[in-house]
Every structure is written in structure tokens, then in C-alpha cells.
């Protein structure tokens, strides 16, 4: 393991993150209480972050260029753990956050991993600069900090590729351009396009510039932090809800399909099996939810039932975690239906989290295939998505992932139960963090928050968030003794 090079890269990433805090500085000069404290908090955090990063950089200044997959895995996993540590500093230094540093760390990790679980009871009293940074962490984490880092720092060669492959979610980890740097920069450019577009549409709907930016950041990342305690219902505007639904839907699609579409080839997008399945899952979810809301009389008018079903279904399945209704007070079918949706997530290569549509498709198809083989063992079937055969290694990777994911879910649920939480809270908090969704049910429902959980639970959930964001393997490897051995 080339520790020096890992340290150097980590140092660079930390400095990069610390400097990016500058985006929140203009909001410190707003006429509101706490501006001065926030300015001080941000400047101190930047200083600490740069010092930490610089220290790591110096530690690794004489690093050799040997960089393999193993180093890539370690770098990315550590990077995410450290970034949240630095990103939490402004919250901590400002003094506006409840609790101690761990609460701030939980909030920052929830930001970068685009989870959207919060420890804040009331959001409006928090100064704008802190809220802006909180939303911005999601925006950075959505497309990927490492991916942004790669597209900005030209000095990386094959290292960039290893880093990219660890951070980008999904199965097909090949870039779309000859150089991984170009792939990264295309992805970010598409992301920026979406950003500008959504800010514009939200401004058009009457949102303030601050709200438009903050919500755009957290929509596109499928994050879910809002600047209102009441989340999107704080706007009380059908137009804004629809714009946000549209963008939540859009960023749940594989970005490389957009890259192709931008290059003038729209066919791969509309023919893509995963995309079509994603669309049909969403439609199905909305319809089921709508019917259940009507049958159990949660809403009297079919229109408001549809409006709430649509928003909640899209928000939960894309792992965003906004709310326009307190869905924890819906009927039990709807509640657990949403809990089920949390396991699905967006497409591979999107900013959404959780298991992802492609893996679900492969699992279901494999199960179907085994069923056919069961009564006629001599039959030879090749697993295909559309017309593309799926390789055996891919299938076993998918199964490995699902086993680890569900395993993590079960173990963590038991751990939370052992900490004295009720079953529904334990289960929903686990999947809401592991799947990077945010709100769960019962005590962590959309109308409440995570602050009241015991500290060990918050630490465990922070860990689940990063595990979910990096798709389990890289984070678990850190605990494998063989991974560190020379």
C-alpha cells in the first residue's frame, strides 16, 4: 500500500473541499443575526481544513507513482470519511447547531452522501450561510467530489481512473471518453447544465434566489436538505413541486446516457432497458400509492392524493427525501410501500443511491432464469438486458452487493434495536441512511429529525451513509486485514 501517495491525494482533496467553503462566504454578509459568527466559523474551518490537507500533502510529498486499485479504494473511502469531518467544522464552530461535534459530523456526512437526514429540529433559525453550505455539500457529493476533483486536476493519470471507478455508482464503470478526465468533466458539465436550468425554473416560480440555489443543489444530488422545516411544502406551490419532481426524475437516470444524448445520439437513452424499467417502476409506484391513499381515505380529493403520491413516490424512490406531506401518518400500506421503494433507488450512474434499478433487474431476471432451469435443468439460458448479454462476473458482483447491502441492513437494524429504539424506527432509519434517502418512519419520519437518537446510533448511521454512497465494497474493505497487508 502506497500510504504516501494516498496521503498526498487526500491532502489535495481536503484543501480543495476547504477552499470550496468560500461559496458560502457571501451569505455571511446578509443582514441577519449570526453573520459575524458564521464568517468566523467558515474562515476558521477553511484554515483548519487547509492546514490538515497541507499536512497530509507534506507527509506524502516524496510519494512514488505506484497507484493501483487497492490504493484507489483506500483513497476514496478515506476521502469521504475525512471530507465529512472537515465539512462539519463550520456547523461546529458557528455554535448554531445542537449537540456536539458528532451531530455536526452526522449532518455533514448526511450532506456529502446526499442522504438528507438532519439533526435540526427547526431549520429557519439557522443563518443562511450555513444552510447554503449544507445544501452545497449535497451538490458536491451528488455527482461526486472525486469526480469533480479529477476533472479539475489534470496531473492524475491512471490514478484518476482508479479513483473514478471507486466513486461512481453502478456496474458499468467504463468511462465514456478516452480519458477519464474528459468523462468526469462531461458528467460535471451536464450536472452544471441541469443546475442552471433548475435554478432558472425555480426563480420563475417565485422562489428567492437563495431558496432556488439551495433546492437546486439538493434536488440534483438527490439529497433532500431543504431550507424549510416543512421541506417543499414550505413553498406551497404546485409549480415548484412539479419542477422538483421533474428534476428528481431526471437525475435518477444514468448520466452517461445524457452524455450520449448531448453528443446527438438520443437512441441509447430511449432504448435503454434500465431507463424504461426505472420509468415503469416510478409510474407503478405512483399509481399504487395513489390508489391506497384514496382507498384508505387519507385524502378526500383524488387530485390532492395524486399530487402527494406523485411527489412522495418520486422523492423516495430517487432517494432524494423531500416531503410535501408527513407520510408517516398515512395508512400502513402506503408507509411500508414507501419503505420498500427506499430499497430501489435510481439508475446506475445517476446521482441516486440505494440498490439501484439495474441490480434489481439482474436479480429478478436471474431468479426467473433459475426457476426455468429448475424444472428443465438441461436448458441453457443466457441472462440478457435487452439484447446485451450480462456477464457471469457481473451477476456474481451484483449478488455480492445485494447480500452485503441486505446484511448491513439487518445487522444495523438489530444494533439500533439493541440501543433501545423501536422496530419501525430502527428499520427505517437504517435503510434511510444506507440508501441515502433521509427521512424514515416513526421517530425519524419526515416531520421529525435524528437529533434525539443516541450517539452510538448517529455514529453507526453516519457510517452507513458513506457505505451506501460508495456502494459498500470500498468501505468494508477498510476492515479487511488482508487489504492492508503488503
Amino acid at each position: 500500500m502506497n500510504f504516501r501517495l494516498i496521503a498526498k491525494t487526500l491532502g489535495q482533496i481536503l484543501i480543495f473541499i476547504s477552499l470550496s467553503m468560500a461559496v458560502a462566504l457571501p451569505w455571511c454578509f446578509k443582514e441577519e443575526p449570526g453573520g459575524r459568527e458564521c464568517l468566523n466559523a467558515f474562515l476558521t474551518s477553511m484554515l483548519v481544513g487547509v492546514a490538515l490537507g497541507g499536512g497530509l500533502w507534506i507527509l506524502g510529498r516524496r510519494a512514488s507513482r505506484q497507484f493501483f486499485r487497492r490504493e484507489g479504494l483506500a483513497t476514496v473511502a478515506f476521502a469521504w470519511i475525512l471530507i465529512a469531518g472537515v465539512g462539519a467544522l463550520p456547523f461546529y464552530f458557528s455554535g448554531f447547531f445542537p449537540g456536539n461535534y458528532l451531530d455536526c459530523y452526522f449532518e455533514a456526512m448526511s450532506g456529502f452522501t446526499t442522504t438528507g437526514a438532519t439533526v435540526l429540529d427547526k431549520i429557519e433559525p439557522i443563518p443562511k450561510s450555513l444552510l447554503f453550505w449544507r445544501a452545497f455539500t449535497q451538490w458536491l457529493g451528488g455527482m461526486g467530489i472525486i469526480v469533480l476533483f479529477i476533472s479539475i486536476f489534470p496531473a492524475l493519470g491512471i490514478e484518476a481512473k482508479h479513483l473514478y471507478q471507486v466513486e461512481v455508482p453502478g456496474i458499468e464503470k467504463k468511462g465514456i471518453m478516452p480519458r477519464i478526465r474528459d468523462t468526469a468533466s462531461i458528467l460535471w458539465r451536464i450536472y452544471l447544465c441541469f443546475t442552471a436550468w433548475e435554478i432558472f425554473l425555480l426563480l420563475l416560480g417565485g422562489a428567492s434566489f437563495f431558496d432556488a440555489c439551495a433546492h437546486t443543489f439538493t434536488t440534483l444530488a438527490t439529497g433532500g436538505f431543504s431550507t424549510y422545516t416543512a421541506s417543499i411544502s414550505g413553498f406551497n406551490s404546485l409549480y415548484i413541486e412539479l419542477v422538483i419532481v421533474l428534476f428528481m426524475f431526471l437525475v435518477g437516470v444514468n448520466f452517461s446516457l445524457y452524455a450520449r444524448a448531448f453528443q446527438g445520439n438520443i437512441r441509447p437513452l430511449v432504448r435503454n432497458r434500465e431507463f424504461l424499467t426505472y420509468v415503469s417502476f416510478l409510474l407503478g409506484a405512483v399509481i399504487f400509492l395513489w390508489i391506497s391513499l384514496l382507498v384508505f381515505r387519507d385524502y378526500s380529493s383524488p387530485f390532492s392524493a395524486l399530487r402527494n403520491a406523485l411527489f412522495q413516490a418520486v422523492s423516495i424512490m430517487t432517494t432524494t427525501g423531500y416531503a410535501t406531506a408527513d407520510f408517516d401518518r398515512w395508512n400502513d400500506f402506503a408507509r411500508f410501500f414507501l419503505l420498500g421503494l427506499m430499497f430501489i433507488g435510481g439508475c446506475t450512474g445517476s446521482t441516486g443511491g440505494s440498490i439501484k434499478v439495474m441490480r434489481i433487474m439482474i436479480t429478478i431476471k436471474t431468479a426467473g432464469m433459475e426457476l426455468k432451469k429448475f424444472f428443465f435443468p438441461k436448458r441453457v439460458i443466457s441472462l440478457k438486458l435487452g439484447k446485451e448479454p450480462v456477464e457471469k462476473e457481473v451477476i456474481s458482483l451484483v449478488f455480492g452487493f445485494i447480500v452485503l447491502f441486505i446484511g448491513a441492513f439487518i445487522i444495523s437494524t438489530f444494533a439500533l434495536l439493541a440501543m433501545g429504539l423501536d422496530p419501525i424506527t430502527s428499520m427505517s432509519a437504517t435503510i434511510a441512511c444506507l440508501g441515502n434517502i433521509g427521512p424514515g418512519l416513526a421517530k425519524v419520519g419526515p416531520a421529525t429529525h435524528y437529533f434525539h437518537l443516541p450517539y452510538p446510533a448517529k455514529a453507526l448511521l453516519s457510517f452507513l451513509m458513506v457505505m451506501g454512497r460508495l456502494e459498500v465494497y470500498p468501505v468494508l474493505l477498510l476492515f479487511l486485514p488482508g487489504f492492508w497487508r503488503k
Partner: protein, 453 residues
Amino acid sequence: MKILIIGGGEVGFHLAKILTRAGHRITIIDNSPERISELESRLDVYTLLGNGCEAGVLEQAGVFSADVVLGVTSNDEVNLLAGYFAKEMGAKRIIVRVRDISRYQYHRSFYQRVLRYDYMLSPRELTAQVIIEAVLGHRASVVEDFAEGKIQLRQFKIPARLPWEGKTLSQANLPKDCLIVALIKNQPKREIIIPDGSTLIKEGDEVLVLGSPSRVKEIEKTFGKSIERARKVILVGGGGIGLTIAQKSEATEIDLKLIEENKDRADELAEILDQTQIINGNGTDPMLLEELGIKSTDLFISACGKDEKNLLGCQLAKKLGAKKVIALVENPEYVELYQSLAIDLAVCPRRLLAEKIIGFINTGVVGSIAVIEEGKAEVIEMKAEPESPITRAPLSQVGFPRGAIIGVIVRDGQVIIPAGKDRVQPGDICIIFSFLKSLPQVQKLFSPPDKSK
């Protein structure tokens, strides 16, 4: 630059590795899934599984916008056909690798016209060239052929007690039809200059001479008797490279003994070669080597297909008293290692090929090039395109950059040493010495006017 490499074997891999470091955008096509995943995990490139001869695969690889396409699979036909398709589909420049260039030699212009490649290279040929130069032991440390061998570039060191010593260039009586294009001063510090008539030549300086091979040879004679030649050579391995070396040395006064293990191959070699002594035996057999007079051998070359055998043979020969040993290396990664194992020269065909191709890509010059002083300057072969700026006025008026000089013009097979009043005509091939910074200007002068503007 966008570069498409067809064939992800060792040559393709080595090329991609160097080219990605230089910041080029690389796509590699290979037909083996294992190789693809290997390349994918070790290089920052885009990979594509498929046959490089299929139009669909080429299209997917974005061949229409490729600046350079390199056909470097182990199959000549695949390379040539893929190169042809690539050109048809809009790729700018095509370089193909072939196993044995002599198959194409006599109809070279025919193949080039029909198959539309820009440059054909053979690792075997390149290797044989490098080895034969070592065998001939020219004092010139650089020997390059230009314009299909009509022009030669040599680098000489000015020895002591030479008639030229202390004279200016115009006073020195140079043979006609050749030109000193550059002077490398060793005192007080090493620097390259483009000389004029008043430049002084001193002992220890080095000169780059350009001219027809016979004239250059005359100059070589002027430099005198001190030329050392490796007269007694033992060559192990009668494969393609061994045979090419032997053929090239047939015309010289070298006493070459070729050891070939396989009886049938040895018979075959004996049929092809006249001057060379063919010995059927094992190149790593100490008794045999002693019997062949290894003690008085100037040069021992091991060029069989196995790295271990070459290495072992060379070390054995060195121990038994050979003055200099040259080993062939298959794996490009081992070249540096060999130098620390007392091998005087390690020659790697794939690496040579890669170096040649990279020189070609970096300069954007059609025709062979020689790199002088680790890339500070280059000697290039340029063809004057119709309507290019260089053809519009006499040389003294076209604004030729100061850091470059036209050494020779080849027009219809005639060699011309140009003066300021001469005019370059479309279709002329010019051999130019240029410093790196002046290269873009030179290229501009020779390219046709940009119609898009």
C-alpha cells in the same frame, strides 16, 4: 490528439502508456476480452472489444475524428485493412505495422497509394537497422536514411589533426552535394548551432552532415583511419531479425557467423545467404562458442526468440571474452534491467517501434525523422504541398524561420543542395534540420493554405 490504436498487444500497450502520459486521448480496439479488461485496469484509455477490420467497430471507436490511427496487431492484413477503412472513414493519418517490410518493398508506392496508409513500419526492420549500425561501428553515432535511402544523415565527431581543424566552414573543402546542417559545440558548454560560412570548427565538435550516402562516405574517409569496425561477429538465432541482419551485412566486409539451432531453418538460411557462415548448433553451448573463436570476437549478438536464452548467451559470451554483446529483448519493460546486467546494448523491437511511432505522432511529419540531442532539435522530411507558402517565392523570401535549415531538396530523384535563390516546387521532398521551437513554423510553410478560413 485523438489516437485510435488497433491491437492492444505489447506494442499497443506500450504506445498507449507513453501517449496517455503525453496527454493524448486514446481508444484501443482489441478482440480479446481478457486483454481488454487488462488494458482497462492498467491504462487511462477507452477500450472497445471487437475486430478492428469491422466498419461498425471502427465507427464506434470514433474513427472519423481520429488524428492518428495505429494498426499494431500482430497480423499484417488486419493492420492494412483496418488502416484502409480508417482512412476511408475520415481518420487523418494512418500508421501500420507489418511483420516483414521486404514483402512490400518493391511495390512500396503501389501499396501506399492503394491502401492509403501514411507510414509503414516493421519492428524487424527497425531492429535489424539498429543492430547493423552497431555492427558496422560507424563513428557516426546517428545514422538515418531519408527519402527512401537517397539521403543519409550522419553525426561525426571532429578528431584531432584534421585538415578542417581551426578553419571556417567556407575554407574547409567539403565535397559537393552534402551540407553540414548543424554543429554541436562541446566547449565551453554543449549547444547546437546552425552554422554558416564563417563558423569555426574545432577539435571535439560534432557535425551533422546531410547528403547522398556516397558523399557522406567520402566525408567519413576524410575523418580518417581511426574508424573501428567490428569485423568478427557471432550472431545467434536465424529468425526473421537474424536473417535481416545477415542480409544487410552481406554487402560489407564483416565476418559473420550465424548460429541456428533448427536444422531445417539452418538449411533454409544457407540457401538464402551467401557470405555468412551458417552453423547448426546451440548458441548457449560454451564449447561451440569457444570453437568459433569467441575470444577474438568483436561483437556477439543474441537474437533468438527467447529472452532468457539471449540473456544467458550474452553473459556467457562476455565471460568467454567477447568484446561487446548485444541482446534482443522481447519485453519492453526489461530494457533498463539488461543494462545493469552487463549487456552493452539491449534492443527491443517493440520498443523501437513505439519510439518511432511516437516521434512521428509528436512532430506530425510525414516521412522519417531523426531526433537530435534528446529532442532539442529534429531532422525531418517534408513534402511541399501544392499552393503551400514555401512554393510561392525563392527560399530567401519565404520567411524561413531562423531556427531551421533546408539541407537537401529531392526533386524527381535528383538531390539538390539549395541556396537562397532556389525555389521549392510542389511535390519536392525537403530534408530539414530544425530546432523544436521552429517546427510549427516549418510545418505551416509546407502545408496547403487553410481553406476553412
